[in-house]
């Protein structure tokens, strides 16, 4: 990541946004990127602060990427500062633990880019974005069931009378599905509790 002092930035966030609870996730491997996790309830205020502050502003949202870690889900906001002297970028994260009705606040009012990105995140992970102006699926059809990029996703067998996932379509023995099958079971039991 570029030109970002994570400890300083986390301290800045904590000082200016009460309750943000910013924690630096130092990358275990030096080749990987570090990131900052904040409280999901405070995401709007944190991003608003990051956009408007004078010390370390970020004027652009690159992408919103969801990750399903089975025990929890993460929404990663790649924020960037397009500036010729000091370009910056870093990953801001929130953790969502509720698998049944996950929700975080929308940041469309701050960055217009968030509109489509949040819709995609909802489409793929089922994370609801409160106050989103146009909260629909984007890549899958509107009446599609399930959220494909969740680890416990199993494709629906029939869609609008068409068989889309027949038995034996996937050769489960051929590929390394064992890890994924474990994840599916784990996530299902978690959702059931």
């Amino acid at each position: 990541m570029l030109n970002v002092d994570f400890n300083k930035l986390a301290e800045l966030i904590n000082r200016n946004v009460p309750g943000a609870n910013a924690v630096v996730n130092e990358a275990a491997d030096t080749k990987c990127d570090s990131s900052i996790t904040v409280d999901a309830a405070k995401i709007y205020s944190v991003v608003e602060f990051l956009k408007t502050n004078k010390e370390m502003p970020f004027n652009s949202l690159q992408v919103i990427s969801g990750v399903d870690y089975v025990e929890w889900m993460e929404v990663c906001y790649m924020l960037a500062h397009f500036d010729l002297e000091t370009p910056r970028e870093f990953i801001l994260k929130v953790k969502v633990t509720d698998r049944v009705a996950p929700a975080v606040d929308s940041i469309v009012k701050l960055y217009a880019a968030a509109n489509f990105q949040e819709r995609e995140c909802y489409d793929m992970f089922g994370i609801k974005f409160n106050n989103h102006p146009d909260h629909r699926r984007i890549l899958c059809p509107d009446d599609w069931e399930g959220f494909p990029l969740r680890k416990d996703y199993i494709a629906q067998k029939v869609y609008n009378g068409m068989e889309v996932y027949p038995d034996g379509k996937m050769n489960f023995e051929d590929r390394e599905f064992v890890v994924r099958q474990d994840m599916i079971k784990k996530a299902q039991t978690q959702a059931a509790n």
């Binding site: 990358a27 491997d29 080749k31 790649m78 010729l84 880019a113 899958c140 059809p141 990029l149 390394e176």
Partner: protein, 390 residues
């Protein structure tokens, strides 16, 4: 005497959507998914008031191929052909970005010759992609001839790529650790010859299209994005540069060996129209072709014999962690968010597609435009639906 064709100043388009009565008069039109001007399977739902667009709503997903889900079940090398098929007009750049993300986590040292060859193919691919953009854009606006000229030159690049990688469009050429195949000296001589021809051709294109009165009338001051719009929407590449911001990752955050190269970053200067309109976006691409030729020539000077493949383990296992890597691709910045849990497959692969971002800007710019101008705007942001829908 006033001729009968002279109808004076054209009336300014206005939309009446104040009253419910008039709202109900809006006509809903579907542009696409099978429409030649949308460059693929984009469906734009347009609400029109006679010929003026009141709203444009993009509907995506007609080319959704679940690439990100597939990637979670493939090993790291097996993903490269899938990444190819994102932006099928700039496959080399796509491969390189993905491979760069894997290499960053793996800590691979790439030999110098391989890096230079990557820059060579990336810049040639940029020229090919911009030629396609140029040809189809002129075609959108009703000029058929430039399309043929552009494809003539593009074909030369594709032939070279075919010789060196075995495929015309989807190469699987850039591999983790280096490149798959070396270029022979004879092929490099042909690249140099191509650069000379292309430079002359680019002048011809400018004479033929760029300053053409009809072309300028159709594109200048149409579909204007300000720099603030671009930053808020996260636009990058020629769209951002067309608005006048001198931002290019190859210059501002040099990756690979780009810091050794001497080239300019063209921006929309408003020779016709004003920065941010269709003409300036188009012109940035035409100027970038010249800059890419400049880079290719420098690559040819720097190339020295050497290995083209670094040391890579037979089975790639990445450490636990994540990276976000972005590269400057012909259509904007492609970002790869790669999350690994230490397995042979990625835990999550997210592709930040520049075209996806640019499509999201259409509802912002469309209201108040004529339908024909909307076609000009969609063409000028140069989308590839393979990358939008993934």
């Amino acid at each position: 005497m006033q001729s009968k064709w002279d109808i004076g100043e054209p009336e300014k388009p206005t939309i009446n959507t104040e009253t419910e009565q008039l709202k109900s008069d809006l006509l809903t039109l579907n542009m696409g998914p099978q429409h030649p001007a949308t460059h693929g399977v984009l469906r734009l739902e347009i609400w029109t008031d006679s010929e003026i667009v009141a709203h444009a709503i993009p509907h995506l997903g007609y080319l959704h191929r679940c690439m990100e889900k597939h990637a979670e079940n493939l090993d790291y090398r097996g993903i490269i052909p899938f990444v190819d098929r994102l932006d099928y007009l700039a496959a080399m750049n796509m491969e390189w970005t993905y491979v760069a993300a894997v290499e960053k986590m793996l800590g691979t040292e790439v030999p110098r010759r391989a890096e230079l060859l990557r820059i060579l193919v990336a810049e040639l691919q940029r020229i090919a992609s911009h030629l396609m953009a140029f040809g189809t854009y002129a075609l959108d606006l009703g000029a058929f001839t430039p399309f043929l000229y552009a494809f003539d030159e593009r074909e030369k690049i594709l032939r070279l790529f075919e010789e060196v990688s075995g495929a015309r469009l989807l190469y699987n050429y850039v591999w983790v650790g280096g490149v798959w195949n070396d270029w022979t000296d004879e092929q490099l001589v042909r690249v140099a010859q191509f650069c000379d021809v292309m430079e002359e051709e680019a002048k011809k294109y400018n004479e033929l299209v760029s300053k053409n009165k009809i072309f300028v009338e159709r594109t200048a001051n149409v579909g204007v994005f300000t720099v603030e719009d671009c930053l808020s929407y996260g636009a990058t590449g020629p769209v951002l540069r067309g608005s006048g911001m001198k931002w290019d990752l190859r210059k501002n955050k040099p990756y690979s060996l780009y810091s050794e190269f001497d080239f300019d970053v063209p921006v929309g200067e408003g020779e016709e129209g004003r920065p941010g309109d269709c003409w300036n976006r188009y012109m940035v691409r035409m100027k970038e072709v010249i800059q890419s030729i400049k880079i290719v020539r420098q690559v040819l000077e720097k190339l020295e014999p050497g290995p083209i493949m670094g040391k890579v383990p037979k089975i790639i296992k990445l450490p636990k962690g994540e990276v976000y890597v972005r590269h400057e691709c012909p259509r904007g910045e492609l970002g790869i968010h790669l999350v690994s849990e230490g397995e042979k497959q990625p835990f999550r692969l997210k592709v930040k597609s520049p075209c996806f971002t640019h499509v999201s800007m259409l509802p912002h710019v469309a209201p108040g435009q004529m339908i024909a101008d909307l076609v000009a705007t969609v063409g000028s942001i140069d989308i590839v639906l393979g990358e939008v829908d993934r």
